[in-house]
Amino acid sequence: MSLEVATVVEDAVEYSFAMEYHGPPITRELPRAVPINVDRIPVAAVVSPTPFSDNLSLPIVQPISATDIISKKLPKDLKLSSSSAELLTVSPTSVIAFDLRNNEVSEGSYSKELGLGTETSVSPSSVNNSLGEREPESCLNNDICALSGELSSDFECCNPNGGFVGRVESSGALGSSDSFEKSREFSGSLSKSRLSSGFKESIDFNESNRTDWESNESVLSVDYLSSRVSSRKFGDGNHESNCDVRRAPVVTFCDIESDDENINEEFSRSEPEVVRAKKEPAIKVRKGACYRCLKGNRFTEKEVCMVCDAKYCTNCVLRAMGSMPEGRKCVTCIGFPIDESKRAYLGKCSRMLKRLLNDLEVRQIMKAEKLCEVNQLPPEYICVNGRPLYHEELIMLQSCSNPPKKLKPGNYWYDKVSGLWGKEGQKPSQIISPHLNVGGPIKADASNGNTQVYINGREITKVELRMLKLAGVQCAGNPHFWVNEDGSYQEEGQKNTKGYIWGKAGTKLLCAVLSLPVPSKSSYPSGEQATSMNNWSRPDYGEQRAIQKLLLIGYSGSGTSTIFKQARILYKDTPFSEDECEHIKLVIQSHVYSYIGILLEGRERFEEESLNELRQNQSCDGSTLAEHLEGNGEETLYSICPRLKAFSDWLLKIMASGTLEAIFPAASREYAPLVEELWSSAAFQATYKRRSELETLPSVASYFLEQGDLETSKAVEILKPDYKPSDVDILYAEHVTSPNGLSCVDFSFPESAYDDDADSGDLHDSLLRYQLIRLQAKGFGENCKWLEMFEDARIVIFCVSLNDYDQFAVDGDGNLLNKMMLSKKFFENMVTHPTFDQIDFLLLLNKFDSFEEKIEQVPLSKCDWFDDFHPVMSRNRSNSNNANHPTMGQLGFHYIAVKFKRLFSALTGRKLYVSLLKGLEPNSVDAALKYAREILNWDEERPNFSLSEYSVYSTEASSFSH
């Protein structure tokens, strides 16, 4: 029903009243006015004259006297009609007759409408008359046109007078259309002609008695509507004073009359409100039922649309509201502003929604609901010191440290000096942040006081005066006070502060008794701007800090996986799950077999070598050759017994075919004893002693093969089926983490960490979650497109293995390059990647322990990049344990660190953080990750540091700038 009405109104807007309709054929039935049977028209009961006298006497005269055109008019349409330019032979008491005339003379419309607007509020009896007299005119269609014409004229009129008339009119007309469906009992006789009947209805309710509006929603809705339209002046009052419907249009009328300059602005505003006001659920349902499935009763849990008040049950809410891009609104209501009465519920999630959606979605919807633009309080509804706010002003008002509580549309006054805040015409209700540049200058009669005592140019109310007197402020002689936000007051024109109003404890109590505001504690006299800034930015900040992403990258072999495993071991209660352990166990076992295979391969080589040697020796000494061959059967130190030999050959064959991994862990039970035997054989031990000659054997092999004494091999332990890898085993094991792609671990630094560094002892810090993401260097390719996915990383931890400087690897093009140079190239790629142009880099120089050993033997200048490394070593190198003299390793580290820092600052102009690392030592990794955390903390505090302070801090922390 309401939908139909709505379309009628919409159409009415489109049709200009003077034009013929040329649009597409109308599918629905045209509203038709039926000849009215006078007897059946509900005749208004004669209203007792008393309520009229006080309501009508004052407001009507003002507007008319202010307008030139109708200056002489009295609130009687008799006079109105006589004064208008066109004199028609219609009955002077007929309202509708004016409408007809309206068709002929468009300029006359405003006066007519004015008359109508006036009339509706004034003389119900005349309306009845007019309706009666309309009948003979029999221009029914014209009638309708005229009525719809009134509506359209509301929007088209640019004449200020017409404008305000239009507003009054639109409220009336809409009111009628709204009220129509809710008050069918009145319009039953005229049901065909909707507009006119609605119109009539609105007239009806004008004369209807009080009991009527209480029972009838239509009155309320009209009241609501008119209050909307006139909210600038009337907004506040209407909720309290909605007992008198008739007064609404009248008051509006006066208000607009009183300030002409805003009329156009107001007019344009009233338009969306018309749209808004008619936003009602598309269907009417039984009270308490779901609007979609029409089931349920008052007690079933329902979610309400913020716009049209439609209620939906659990099953329907997601269907009816879709993905809720603007919060809880029906899909059809998206884009419409919310019902102001529901503003308090914005962003407050119901239990039902929580049950239906997951946390993340609920949070997102609530955020959208609170922050999306259409749901914001329209700034023009808030009028401060007589001027509607602009968008920025409203934001300022809401974001200040001490904002007005429960800001509703309405008129307020605001004393910028003291921060006093109140509703227009009333005593102050609150003290908000002072010095906000919102609204116009305060008016003397803002709080409608009559005490002749002024505070900051505002005449204060009696209550305030009483408070001032009781607070001991001298108020004799009607002084004009100047009150600051801290309560200090002085008389206008004088310099000395006379005292503090809220200084005494008693005053606050007094204020509470008189329900006057006192300054809140949080409002500081200074630094207002700063605090408001903080308030505004904090929520965002908090979300951003929810999880901090640390990106761990490095060239292959740089030890990123060790760091990753260390982080898991350090910060997780169960570093590796059962499944992972099982997987790691198999990986380690197959690794051990491959180590053994490599050793066996070496053994064969050594055996051959030693045999050749033997033969050479023997060929020199030809006589003994034969004996040797017979006796020893080519036995050398590296020879093994045939059984082991068979195993060895088989193993080597498998390795060559590359199916070791497929076979081995499974066949382990069978071959483990053989391995034990093999390990204890002298030949194998001899080979193992020469393991440094086997380049393919990784350095970690020795960890897995031997443990302490050579007699009981760790390999034997490992190959047992019930072997459980220890954390250290896992740490040493290669390729146990996901072989390709990336791996990540969420952790937070344990509490105990704060004992040793006091200055980062923020309690909330321990709640911070970190996510260490390890990226595999393999498959990075040239441009690393997908690094864009990591633009939210807080820091990039780049890992370089220090002892790469003398090692070589094959790059993509098949060239053999120094691994350090490859690392450097990769580093350059990463730091210049556009994704990382704002992100800090932490360089971890890994494997410092083995580097220290290596640098003593292999000069650093083996790598081209480090050819100008000329360490100045103290002459007495023998006592290098002296702390004052850095070791060669330390010098080398500093040198490489500086090399990287220079490279970094040349590429980006920023500062590189460097730390050294021993990947296998948990403490070292822990320190490095905590250093990364410190960098993040500094980052956040950076703006707070003065420049010098900061640079000192960082230089010291990154330990060696140069």
Binding site: S323, V331, G741, N783, W786
Partner: protein, 377 residues
Amino acid sequence: MSVAELKERHMAATETVNTLRDRLKQKRLLLLDTDVAGYARSQGKTPVTFGPTDLVCCRTLQGHTGKVYSLDWTPEKNRIVSASQDGRLIVWNALTSQKTHAIKLPCAWVMTCAFSPSGQSVACGGLDSMCSIFNLNSPTDKDGNLPVSRMLSGHKGYVSSCQYVPDEDTHLITASGDQTCVLWDITTGLRTSVFGGEFQSGHTADVLSVSINGSNSRMFVSGSCDSTARLWDTRVASRAVRTFHGHEGDVNTVKFFPDGNRFGTGSDDGTCRLFDIRTGHQLQEYSQPNSDNEVRHVTSIAFSVSGRLLFAGYTNGDCYVWDTLLAQVVLNLGSLQNSHDGRISCLGLSADGSALCTGSWDTNLKIWAFGGYRKVI
């Protein structure tokens, strides 16, 4: 033969290949007397014109909390699956903008997603180098998460793109950062064939996109970081049927033309191109000089059902609608009032061509449809 000698010979061979390629290019240029736009103009074709209200955003699908990376429509119903950096796949009903499924992924860094032809399952892939298949009908576990019904593992690099073979729920083609494309058998979880790779004449850099020919599902085309697109026959894995040169940057996206005889590409060089798979010629280049000289890449393309329109998303948030015949921009969706705030990362047309869905780094998806009485072209 010594290493130096080998290197020399390799150098010489590369040189020869390059000169031959150049000659081929010259020859092609000689043979091409016109391009599509020139021919269409000479035939008196007039460009399509769009008013500002002809293509309007009619839905905003909000629900992701991270950048949207990929989307796909179901062939038969109006459902969309989208993949985002918040680590979720969301299945939407495009008509009602409801979410029908939200799937939490084991690896948050997802790059691609696809709907199966039957609409029963979705596939996704990303930096975990796996392609995960989710059956939408399978029951959720106790946390409300949909379990992975199959993991296709075998790629050695990230999975950049995946597409189901039309009308087959059991076969899927993926493209990967390991320079290969793989045809998978989902029922067994094994690779049926690998296209490209170490010893084969495949792409020489990361493959970023695949598109399967709609009219002949044995043919598919792939676009790669080596700035080429290659046409493959699924029956011949060993070598590409044809290699299409022309782009001067990574080929980010490829899409078959509706008739299956042409395909479009979008690249880091900011252009889209149209290639003919039978002649191997480039038919048309679609590029427009950017006003503010900033480099913008084409992230994703889609053709309208007739092929007359080409929708192309750019990294700077533009989304052009090209007239494929006259190579003119008809409309820029990125300049419309309610457009995306961030880069448009993916777009796709519904099966009936009535709606376009765009996904963006601003975490939203938007559905665009023809407003008014305009017919679908």
